[in-house]
Amino acid sequence: MSILNKKTISANLVRNLVMIIGVAAVGLASTQALFRDVEQSQRGVFVVGTLDMNVEEPSGQVAESIVVSNVGESLNMSGGKTWVVRNIGSLPGRLNFSLDNIRNIENGCNEPEALVDATCGDSGNEEGELGQNIQTQVTLTKNNAVTQVISATLAGDQVDAYKEQWLTNAGNRIIPPGGSVEVTFAWQTDDYAFGNEVQSDSVVFDVVYELEQVTNGG
């Protein structure tokens, strides 16, 4: 074979190769099926959740405070008050319970009290002796299961005891949206727990419920 023929054959081979590649490229491009799907949300809305609670009487009426005005009528006393705490928001919440602002007041003194209580004429908030003689218990009821949470007196220095015992025994009490829990506050005195030193005394306090949003962080 001459040198001229060899060059001609090589040129043809290159041309054919280019044509094959070109045809293949066109073929691939024309047969490629691109799958694609698109979903579009018609109403993209950010909704802020709500946190709200109701404290009610078991009958559904608005919760009332405790009023016991006959201490001393009998040798001892006992009683209780139940509130239903309902989460009416859209977010779960952690329930906190505390007593605040406990005030033991003397309210003056009469002759029998003055004989046994030298400070009954003082007007200070912590002069009264009634609260220290009243033992209280706080229990939670959920699905008929009763849990005792707090045991303390109504002495003025017991505010922290209520907070700490709640934290220890019910600190993780979560109420889901629409859920509820019953909180019972019971009180009692022992026979002869007190005498003339509590005549006319009173103890006044606030009950505080808090529903705190439960975040991812806990």
């Binding site: 405070s65 405790i66 016991v68 005005s69 928001g89 919440g93 002759e111 009243i134 005549q199 009173s202």
Partner: protein, 193 residues
């Protein structure tokens, strides 16, 4: 001056960046609070007083007799008045405080209320209980203290001191509160043949 401003800006910028980078969650919690205010426990009161039935002043001395003779008598009264909220039941008892026990034993006592005789007998045996309150906030009691006609002469020129204790009941049926009032008494006999 400019450099100082710039370094402060950098410090604040990088500080904020570090804060944001370290924050796992933003803690914008919602919180709802419900307060039940002024929960109250209130103690009642119990108190009574002995009053002079004429002028309603405090009375602590009932009989103060001197020269008492056989067949002689003295008459006194007291108003037992409720001074506080609680009704009460009281008990009256006598205890000798001084003098000749024989004279105290010889003395006779009659107690009346609304002209009804509540007690009649020896002074030292006197015991009486009653309730005050509800309908009646007080009771007027009349005491007649006498020396019998046949009292022997060895009780002449003798003394008898005694107290009448009025004490409210406490316990199973009543209040833990109590009150006690005392009526002091002094009797001195005269001389006779």
């Amino acid at each position: 001056m400019k450099n100082e401003k710039r370094s402060w800006s950098r410090f604040i910028f990088f500080g904020l960046m570090a804060l944001f980078a370290s924050a796992r969650f933003t803690d914008a919690d919602f919180l709802d609070t419900e307060d039940l205010l002024n929960n109250t426990f209130q103690a009642l009161t119990l108190d009574f007083s002995n009053l002079n039935t004429a002028n309603l002043t405090q009375k602590s001395l009932l009989f103060n007799i001197s020269g008492l003779q056989p067949s002689g008598f003295g008459l006194e009264s007291v108003r037992i008045k409720q001074e506080a909220e609680l009704d009460f039941t009281y008990q009256a008892k006598v205890e000798q405080t001084l003098g000749n026990p024989a004279l105290c034993q010889a003395l006779q006592l009659r107690v009346m209320r609304d002209w009804q005789v509540l007690y009649e007998g020896s002074l030292m045996g006197f015991s009486y209980s009653s309730s005050v309150g509800s309908d009646d906030a007080w009771q007027d009691l009349v005491f007649v203290l006498s020396l019998p006609t046949q009292t022997p002469s060895d009780l002449a020129n003798q003394n008898c001191g005694f107290n009448i204790y009025l004490t409210t009941f406490s316990g199973d049926e009543g209040s833990p509160f109590t009150d006690q009032e005392v009526l002091t008494n002094q009797v001195q006999t005269g001389s006779w043949l």
